[in-house]
Amino acid sequence: MSLIQINNLVKEYVMGENILRALDGVNLGIERNDYVAITGTSGSGKSTMLNVLGCLDRPTSGNYVLNGKDVGHLDPDELAEIRNREIGFIFQSFNLLTRATALQNVMQPLVYQGVPLHERKRRAEEALNHVNLGNRMDHLPNQLSGGQRQRVAVARALVTKPSILLADEPTGNLDSRTTVEIMKLFDELHKQNQTIIIVTHEPEIANHCLRIVRLEDGRVAEDRRKS
């Protein structure tokens, strides 16, 4: 059974009197341990796709089954729980809590699971060591470089052991050297059997992945697997 099964997914936005159809009948299956890039030009529906895949938003119609559970029609608190347990987000602008240290940032998702403090700390330290930031745990985000911040974000995404790592333009705010560094990290995580979905418009980033799904006008225009 697929990790993600999407059937005929439609997402519409009401903009004044017009109805904007951002996703127009998307069908997509993603297996466990896949490494997928979702690409497309701006306006192609990739951001909407990311929001729906990440359970931040609900589809207007269609089915979205994640890890055997239909998550298309849950209420906001149930969606929050799914986001917490199944999905690890990585954002373009890192989105770390500015007033919290690297360690506290990584511990935060575990707070919402009710993990006790010492256990939280142990698991967060483990995740930070995993991304080679064991020596930066007590630094605030503004004391870290862009690459280091993104690695904190990766650690935060991994700490809950999610089914999917969902990255939104993860290298968009990084220079080319750091981009290579972060992509290497993604490649490694994939080798460790992590399912990864990267939403990006950059072909070089997409080329790291095993499968490239290109969206156009809210539909899947191309679904190609690298040989």
């Binding site: 931040l56 986001r83 954002f91 809590l97 707070v111």
Partner: protein, 408 residues
């Protein structure tokens, strides 16, 4: 799980308050001032109440005070009522059940001289029992005796301030002072009593009632306050009624007329004062409630700003799995904690003001803040925090995660 969420929200709220230390202080200033005001007012009023009760305790529970009533309306009609020396004599001979009865004439201010020194003093005319009524203890010499009164001796008991103002020797007994045109021999010096309600109690001269009457001449303008102490407290009402009947007859009051005098027991006097003080407390409480309300609105305002400012942070927390009640609780705790901290700081400041006031006013008891005032003000602050925190917290909890993440 709920307890865990509470503890985590508490921790997050505490961190957030600490991160914005100065702003948190300014936010809660309204609460600090409000609570400090309650505590200061209450502690001062409690002190006042204590002092006044202590003053009346000297009268004993079995005493009755009779004095004239001159309301403003009657005064502008030209009616001045008095208790005359004749009334006093009538009461002392025609009322049964009296243990002691003593007259007090509070004279107008007189100038008192000794050598070349002059001072203005209120001279009181009374008898032996005034010692008990006025809580006067003698340091040197003796107090007035019945004999002094009956023989209208020219003697006086003076207070410490008078002695100092007149440059009398430390033990002034035997010296002669001149009150008005009369020479009086000092027979006693009273112990210092300090001030009460800003009035110096040591600036006093007491002379015998008889002497007072004789030196004010044969005019009938004396207004006597009569102090009665009963032999048997169960006779209180009987004596009160008898006094009223006799005085109404003597003053030739028609049945429809109001009494032009007042007969009060010491308990009534105490309760009158307590009623006044309770009213003051309630009024002060009302003003304070308004200030706490204003403080609460200040808190709500800052919390709303804080929610807007931290929209992105809220979006992040929601994206990584925060549920609505977890966000709600964090912000609610933040305002609750702000108010409670403000309440506690206010409590300390208020107590400090009360203690300072108590120390600054002589003979004032140490500041006592009753438990109900502490509980009330802390409880009220917590209530303000909850009531005014709920709207910003709900706003934060209901933010859409996508919108919040996009917020710059």
């Amino acid at each position: 799980m709920f307890v865990f969420d509470m503890m985590e929200s508490f921790r997050a709220a505490l961190l957030s308050i600490r991160a914005h230390g100065f702003r948190s202080f300014l936010t809660t200033l309204g609460i600090i001032i409000g609570v400090a005001a309650v505590i200061a007012v209450v502690s001062i009023i409690q002190g006042l109440q204590f002092t006044i009760n202590q003053q009346f305790e000297g009268l004993g529970t079995n005493s009755i005070v009779v004095q004239s009533v001159n309301t403003f309306e009657r005064r502008i009609q030209g009616i001045i009522s008095r208790i005359t020396p004749q009334d006093f004599e009538m009461l002392s001979t025609r009322v049964e059940g009296i243990a002691t009865i003593s007259p007090i004439i509070a004279g107008a201010g007189n100038s008192v001289r000794y050598g070349s020194q002059v001072t203005a003093v209120q001279v009181t005319g009374s008898d032996y029992n005034y010692q008990v009524v006025g809580r006067i203890f003698i340091k040197y010499g003796r107090f007035l005796s019945d004999n002094d009164d009956q023989t209208r001796r020219r003697v006086a008991v003076i207070g410490e301030t008078v002695r100092q103002n007149l440059h009398l020797p430390a033990n002034p007994v035997g010296e002669y002072i001149r009150i008005g045109d009369e020479w009086m021999k000092v027979i006693g010096l009273a112990e210092e009593r300090g001030q009460i309600l800003g009035q110096n109690q040591d600036n006093m001269v007491v002379i015998p009632y008889g002497t007072m009457r004789s030196i004010t001449g044969n005019q009938n303008k004396l207004d006597v306050v009569i102090q009665i102490i009963l032999g048997d407290i169960s006779q209180m009402e009987v004596v009160q009624d008898r006094v009223i009947t006799l005085l109404r007859t003597a003053h030739k009051l028609a049945p429809k007329d109001d009494d032009d005098f007042r007969v009060q027991t010491s308990q009534q006097l105490t309760s009158t004062f307590n009623t006044v003080l309770t009213t003051v407390t309630i009024v002060a409480g009302g003003i304070v409630a308004i200030s706490l309300l204003v403080g609460g609105i200040g808190i709500m305002n800052i919390m709303l700003v804080s929610v807007t400012e931290r929209t992105r942070e809220i979006g992040i927390c929601k994206a990584i799995g925060a549920k609505r009640h977890q966000i709600l609780m964090q912000f609610l705790f933040e305002s609750l904690l702000l108010c409670l901290l403000g309440g506690l700081v206010g409590l300390l400041i208020g107590y400090g003001i009360g203690a300072f006031a108590a120390a600054a006013i002589p003979n004032f008891p140490a500041a006592v803040v009753p438990l109900w005032a502490i509980l009330l003000s802390v409880g009220f602050s917590a209530g303000v925090g909850l009531v005014f925190g709920i709207m910003p917290a709900a706003k934060a909890a209901n933010l859409d995660p996508i919108e919040a993440l996009r917020y710059e």
